[in-house]
Subunit: 261 residues, 2 copies
């Protein structure tokens, strides 16, 4: 068996960045897109073509996929191809890309703090929001787990949403957050983009609840950061382009009945 | 406001490693412990003292905690203190520690493959197993969501468990897995320890289902790797010591009714 030395899996830094993700929905691919868009770094996005996008994801997730000589197989998209390297898992892709495009420090331990904030938002707020409409099984339709969804959403709105907003506000209140609106240090990092997308998706899925959080005045820093990211020239252009998908299926879905009291 | 430069958050590599985690249960702290135990690297574990452990976790998770001049606040344990650095989130702690103790490459892109495997196991198999006994709300007792737990467990056993075991087997079948039983390259890495603990916890929580997976013969590599980790001298010593907690509450719980047909 051919034996790659992990130390020798190198990348040509001039190689193109190629995102593999489901077409049509924003989903987890959106966190990766925002990093490239803010940095102004070119990337290809297979999801731009519905048929090619579907084929790419299906071949990635096929149980016949046992990777190649450089890369182990991925379980799920998003995946990122960069030269010979293919990596998956959203926080992992962000961790790889962000320092290379100027959205995370290249040296020192700051990146572990950023990764910690990003993991908390993705593994917590984003995953739990997804589970509000699929609490029993991902293979069932929402309609077949509606009752449980309603029950889970009640706790999500009452307990979990404030918990995560409070956490993000605490990070902004910390000494490690700088003079600007950013989560960590004095300038925008990829963690700020992750917060933006997580809040934006939450606004779509739970508009009434997000409005109530804003009105409480307890999370002003979070909403200020959200606005600051939205107004970044590159992000603003992107959000108005057709590269930005509309919310529909996937993680962030709008089922008004889940917010009804 | 004092302004730390993220690039300047340095660590004294000779500083002691201090794990902060809930006392009594193995939980997510176990993934961190296994790394130190296998590497034979000393670490302190505040959970060794029930009262001190509870106090440390409570002060970590308190909403009054807004971190310090070096570190943003954590949402949840485990956390790791190393000199002035305090970081949280299991895969993040592992990513920091493993290259320092010889259980991940220090250079190159191999670490992104390891991180991807670890995130898939932790975010997937481990989190979903946890949710089998808490599908509606973490703040409710199991007894108050027993019906939903049973329903979720049926899909977990039928669909999700085989999906993750198949994924782990695919990684072992890949060319990037070496001659030995290991997930990536020719020697044991922290990803192998993560697989071991995830499978060990699954065996405890769903013994009949895990036995059936083993009997199927489809995941021989996974169980061979599990055995190989268990037989490592340092791990074997650790598992027989009183530093290893018994399963009880937390992620891995045994509710026989969840496996009944």
């Amino acid at each position: 068996m051919s034996q790659p030395d992990p130390k020798r899996v190198k990348t040509d830094d001039d190689a193109p960045y190629e995102l593999i993700y489901w077409p049509v929905i924003p989903g987890r691919g959106e966190f990766v897109r925002l990093v490239f868009e803010e940095a102004g770094v070119p990337y290809s996005d297979v999801a731009q073509n519905i048929e090619k996008g579907m084929d790419a994801v299906k071949s990635l997730t096929s149980t016949d996929n046992i990777g190649d000589e450089h890369n182990p197989p991925a379980l799920a998209p998003p995946a990122l191809k960069h030269g010979d390297l293919l990596i998956s898992q959203t926080p992992n892709i962000l961790l790889y890309v962000a320092p290379r495009v100027g959205l995370a420090p290249k040296e020192g331990n700051g990146v572990y703090h950023l990764n910690e904030i990003v993991l908390t938002i993705l593994d917590g707020l984003v995953n739990e929001l997804h589970d509000t409409h699929h609490p029993i099984a991902i293979s069932l339709y929402y309609e077949d787990q509606k009752e449980e969804s309603k029950k889970k959403s009640e706790y999500f709105i009452k307990e979990r949403l404030p918990k995560y907003f409070k956490y993000m506000q605490r990070v902004l209140d910390a000494k490690t957050s700088g003079e600007g609106p950013w989560l960590y240090g004095d300038s925008l990092t990829y963690a700020d983009l992750v917060l933006f997308q997580a809040v934006d998706g939450t606004k779509f899925a739970f508009p009434k609840s997000t409005k109530a959080l804003k009105k409480s005045g307890e999370y002003d820093g979070v909403f200020k950061l959200y606005d600051a990211v939205k107004e970044r020239p590159n992000i603003s252009n992107y959000l108005q382009s057709d590269r930005r998908r509309k919310y529909s299926e996937g993680i962030w879905r709008y089922y008004p009945e889940l917010e009804e009291e």
